[in-house]
Amino acid sequence: MQKMHKTILGYVPEASPLYEVHPFVRLYFLMVVSIFPMIIGAPEWNLALILVVLVLMKYGRVSLSTLKLYVPISISMGMLILLSYTLLGGIHPEFHVVFRILGFPIYYERIEAAVEVYTRILPMIFVMVLFLSTSRERDVLVAMRWARVPFTMTYMTAMALRAVGMVIEDFSIVRQAEKARGFDPHGKSLGYKLRQFVMYIIPLMALSLRRSEEFTKAIVARGYSFTGLKNVKRPDYVLSKYPFRTRDAVLILIITGFLLGILYLRYGLGMLTLEGSVTQRWLRQWLLGGAA
């Protein structure tokens, strides 16, 4: 079983062939491939994209049990969509009623739309999960620096990620301290838990504010200034350890090529839409008995 390592962003494999791919390419993959489901309406194609992502996760030695972490959001998101499109979808006499729940009509057109939306969003989640499962914090920063994001912003991002880790640690310490004093919210009422949260948020915030002074001194003491050294170009040592290779450029071209291809198929040839898709045909057959 692949050994996974916890980062602030999620769980990543200790070793992975995907680490050979430049971090910027992985970020580019996230940003561009996340657009695909927004263009593609046909659910089967979006489900195929999920399969591609799963294959990449397998190839990248990501433990597929990581996906368990994202089941809650997938389910809650599905429920949100279903609720919105069915019970909260309003009355539409022009639509086909397939059944009723407590008197509320559930329309075929709404179910079809909900399926389309859900199958658009699911691959976007999977692409995000792939990124989080194959990117260490340093990879995110390298990707940003390669994209020439100003150093102040990448440094702020690094500190923010660091701060997330620290706050989680502080939260755990404060919680243990409260438990040691008999304050245990387990099994208690919502009001009790609310009080618990109030008792945590003040020390967490106070600790962070105090830390800001210490961090500032430490950063200034090592020569960082907001405006940088005058007339001095800041070297990027970390970036020099991540050379952008020919294969990375090829991958960028391939990803871009797919995007252009999908745009052409969709808007040039009218393909990849829900209309006429296999899923639509199957849904009509199942819910309407084949009627249009």
């Binding site: 996340s34 949100l80 609720l83 989640i125 702020m156 500190m159 504010l209 500032t216 950063i219």
Partner: protein, 201 residues
């Protein structure tokens, strides 16, 4: 120190943006991300939508104490907290205007009306409640109507319910946690170098 004095830059006083502000922004992002990811008391609906979101307090007080830096943090930390939970990246990015405005309103209100962040008088309370309400109204419209409807996650008919749910959740959490943080920590924050009297320093 009176409320007027808190926001007034005295003659000879020099305040400039510095490393401390970068650091405070980063730390606000960190704390907001953690509070946003773990602080939900209700079943999350998905895409960072919660019916009770304590991180709104970090957005509000961050803006009040740190001006534009707090607004930057407020805009960015939900990307991390939503991202960690698997929210698609473009949905997270689309929330930015709502999050920024939710922080901007109290930041602007306290500066414009010279209200005391320690909430000493009834007037201070009214400024706080009024500005966070306006901020939450915008957020509640932007979030469900522009983002969720825009991505097709909601139908037009269901939008009002989610708008009310978003608004009520943020409003209650913002009042409860915002008041507590302002009362508990403003007294210390306003004496620090990083406290922002204008927008950047």
């Amino acid at each position: 120190m009176t409320a007027e004095e808190i926001w007034t830059i005295e003659e000879g006083e020099v305040r400039t943006p510095g490393i401390g502000h970068i650091v405070i922004t980063a730390l606000l992002i960190g704390i907001g991300a953690v509070v946003g990811a773990f602080g939900s008391f209700t079943l999350p609906l998905g895409f960072g939508v919660n019916f009770f979101w304590p991180a709104i307090a970090v957005q509000n007080v961050g803006g009040i104490w740190y001006g534009a830096w707090g607004i930057i943090a407020a805009s960015l930390f939900p990307i991390i907290s939503n991202g960690i939970s698997g929210t698609p990246v473009y949905v997270s990015l689309a929330y930015i205007p709502a999050n920024a405005f939710q922080s901007f309103m109290p930041a602007w209100g306290f500066r414009y009306f010279k209200a005391d962040p320690r909430l000493k008088s009834a007037r201070d309370w009214w400024v706080f409640l009024g500005t966070i309400t306006v901020g939450n109204i915008f957020g509640a419209i932007w979030g469900p109507l522009v983002v969720l409807k825009g991505f097709g996650l909601l139908t037009a008919e269901s939008v009002p319910l989610f708008v009310w749910g978003w608004f009520a959740g943020n409003e209650i959490a913002g009042i409860v946690f915002g008041v507590i943080l302002l009362k508990a920590l403003s007294g210390v924050v306003i004496t620090t170098k990083t406290f922002v009297k204008r927008w950047w320093a």
